[in-house]
């Protein structure tokens, strides 16, 4: 307990509360709420039924109004706790509401209509998680397909990125071949060319190759990342050249040197690039939006955006699928956050 209070009350220099101490704690706590709050609210909302979502003010927990089937009525009727004029409290079902008067019946005795002022009744509610929000889009809509597509794109793009980038980085860090500086120049130059600048011609290249409406059309343009080549090269430069000489003396071919010596020794940098690549490719939106026009090929991001753009916005499904889309990235965050933050601080990579 002492530790906790010492931690919480840690101050500048220990000479009373300086305004910066107060500001620091204000910033940290507000930051905590602003950064995490929206995502928590999203998860929370995703378990609510459409009726609960439509409520204002919103509730913290997902409530559902209890309903019951009453003889003589087709639909189930919502239940309310009603304070009767004689002061007793009874559970009644609402038939209809006119103005401030609700017409209610006793489920035990459905023949008699009781008129109640809506001030005197409260809905009988219980906490219930609407897992159907998740099940339906995945089963009935195509979200399982979208999920598969996203996983395929992410995994394949990351594998190819790691392989081609590390091979190029190896050549650029450990060989002195002709044209090396030209290759380096090209890579630097294209750091300046973001995707949004070459949308139209890239689209025509993809179409000419027959990759329009193909997941490979999404994957291939993204894999030759200059940042990945740079980061790996930087790391490989720190591997001593004597190791490569030793391997050459050990009769290793150049390919074996790459595969058995360089790759294992570059593992930390490869891990960072792999994490980044997974996050990048999972999150990609604009390019898949352009390349994929057939619904069954959509990635999660595109599918979700299309779904959210429909005229009849079904928030309960959208929220649930947003959570699904967020899950892998949150897992990466929880387990690999340290890796990423040190990676960024070290290389300025994003």
């Amino acid at each position: 307990m002492r530790n906790v209070s010492a931690f919480l009350l840690r101050r500048r220099g220990g000479r009373g509360w300086h305004w910066t101490d107060i500001f620091t704690w204000f910033w940290l706590i507000a930051g905590f709420l602003v950064m995490f709050g929206p995502a928590v609210w999203l998860v929370n909302s995703s378990f609510k039924t459409p009726a609960a979502l439509a409520e204002f003010p919103p509730t913290i927990l997902p409530y559902v109004t209890a309903e019951t089937v009453v003889e003589g009525y087709d639909k189930p009727l919502p239940l309310y706790e009603v304070k009767l004029p004689d002061g007793t409290v009874q559970v009644l079902a609402e038939v209809r509401r006119i103005g401030i008067v609700a017409q209610m019946v006793d489920p035990e005795n459905p023949g008699e209509i009781i008129k109640v002022n809506i001030q005197d009744r409260t809905p009988k509610r219980s906490v219930s998680f609407a897992f159907d929000n998740y099940v339906r889009p995945l089963v009935v809509n195509d979200f399982v397909l979208y999920l598969q597509n996203s996983v395929f794109v992410t995994v394949m793009a990351t594998l190819i990125t790691l392989l081609t980038n590390s091979m190029a980085a190896f050549a650029l860090s450990k060989y002195n071949f002709r044209g090396r500086s030209a290759v380096m120049m090209l890579i630097v130059a294209t750091l300046m060319v973001p995707l949004s600048v070459i949308l139209v011609p890239l689209y025509s290249v993809i179409s000419a190759m027959g990759l329009f409406n193909s997941l490979w059309g999404v994957i291939l343009p993204t894999v030759a990342t200059p940042t990945g080549v740079f980061m790996l090269r930087q790391y490989m430069l720190t591997i001593p050249d004597e190791l490569i000489d030793a391997a050459r003396m050990d009769k290793a071919s150049e390919w074996q040197i790459y595969w058995r010596i360089i790759l294992p020794l570059t593992a930390p940098a490869l891990a960072v690039l792999a994490i980044f690549s997974v996050v990048w490719r999972w999150n990609d939106f604009l390019w898949p939006l352009i390349v994929l026009s057939r619904k069954e090929l959509y990635t999660l991001q595109v599918g979700l955006n299309t779904y959210a753009g429909e005229l009849n916005v079904q928030w309960h499904y959208i929220l649930a699928m947003t959570v699904v889309t967020m899950i892998p990235v949150v897992l990466v965050f929880v387990f690999l956050q340290r890796f990423i933050t040190t990676g960024i601080a070290g290389t300025g990579l994003k």
Partner: protein, 326 residues
């Protein structure tokens, strides 16, 4: 166990690659190693980059370059056909100029807000905090979220009956239609993009702050320097290279703003959050009367701005290197 196929691949590939090495020599193998990356790079970056200029000089709706009609600088002329550049309505491509001015305002406001908030956050994270890595993670969290997720989260919170309006209502104010009123929607676009990316820049600045030697602060303390003066005379000058990098990076990314704002507002209400990238996307792909040549011309103009900004950044980086080399 996982490594079994890896070992297998190495064994299978070795003999043919050894043969290749015998033919091409060590430098031949170097070419072999750069080839896949450069091939992909060439096809999907370099070629599009080059033919982009050709596209911007053609007209019509056909996709393949061969089927298109050469029109020279007509597309550029169309973009610049304007009575008064400050007044998009007086322009032939009014949407383009709307997007340009929206982007300019967005860039100015967003970059200022982003750098300010990131700097404050980095300064606070650099204080003598316990559990610093926890707090660092807190601010970093949204950086990993996809733009679609970011857009949808905030659409949900900013909707008419959303959480924010409830909080405002509880405080006794009237709810605001955040995404329906022009200025509020623009403010939302800025705030949401700052929310989503601020942690990344705070991290770069934090790394810069931590690289400032502690003994400088101790020396300043021995000299009895006031904290504000320490900040202005020591922290800020020594952080300047990182600050410049952050400034240029935010600029470059702000110019290209699209994803999260597109999901959040769809460019609306009306055209109040229509930015350049969305304009290119809609002219080139989404609208019924698509005009790839016009989209290309607009993207080349945006590319030119980005190249200038990037060269600026590289220049800064080089100057910084030279200074640290001394």
């Amino acid at each position: 166990m996982i490594l079994a196929p890896v070992g297998w691949l190495a064994r299978v590939l070795d003999p043919p690659l050894r043969a290749l090495q015998r033919v091409g020599g060590r430098n031949g193998m170097a070419i072999f190693f750069v080839a896949p990356n450069m091939l992909i790079f060439g096809i999907f970056v370099l070629i599009p980059l080059v033919i982009n200029f050709a596209y911007s000089m053609t007209g019509g709706g056909a996709l393949f370059l061969g089927d298109r009609i050469f029109v020279g600088g007509e597309q550029y002329g169309r973009l610049f056909d304007c009575g008064n550049y400050l007044e998009p309505n007086s322009c032939r491509e009014d949407l383009f100029w709307t997007a340009v001015w929206n982007t300019v305002f967005f860039v100015v406001l967003q970059v200022a807000l982003m750098v300010g908030v990131a700097l404050i956050t980095a300064l606070i994270l650099n204080r003598d905090l316990k559990a610093r890595s926890f707090w660092r993670a807190v601010f970093f969290f949204p950086v990993l979220l996809s733009p679609v997720v970011v857009g949808l989260i905030w659409r949900w919170i900013l909707q008419r009956q959303g959480l924010l309006n409830y909080m405002i209502y509880e405080l006794g104010f009237d709810p605001i239609n955040w995404l329906v009123e022009r200025n509020w929607a623009f403010a939302a676009a800025i705030s949401v993009s700052v929310w989503a990316h601020m942690g990344f820049y705070a991290l770069i600045l934090l790394a810069g702050l931590q690289a400032i030697p502690k003994d400088l602060y101790e020396a300043a303390e021995m000299d009895g320097t006031r904290p504000a003066r320490v900040f202005w005379r020591i922290t800020l000058p020594l952080l300047a290279p990182n600050l410049l990098v952050v400034l240029v990076l935010t600029l470059i990314r702000a110019v290209q703003i699209f994803d999260e704002v597109y999901v959040l507002t769809g460019g609306g209400p009306g055209t109040s959050t229509l930015f350049i990238t969305q304009y290119i996307y809609e002219v080139g792909f989404a609208s019924l009367l698509r005009n790839p040549g016009l989209a290309s011309a607009a993207s080349i103009l945006m590319g030119a701005v980005l190249v200038v900004l990037t060269l600026f950044q590289l220049g800064i980086a080089r100057r910084g290197e030279r200074r640290s080399a001394k």
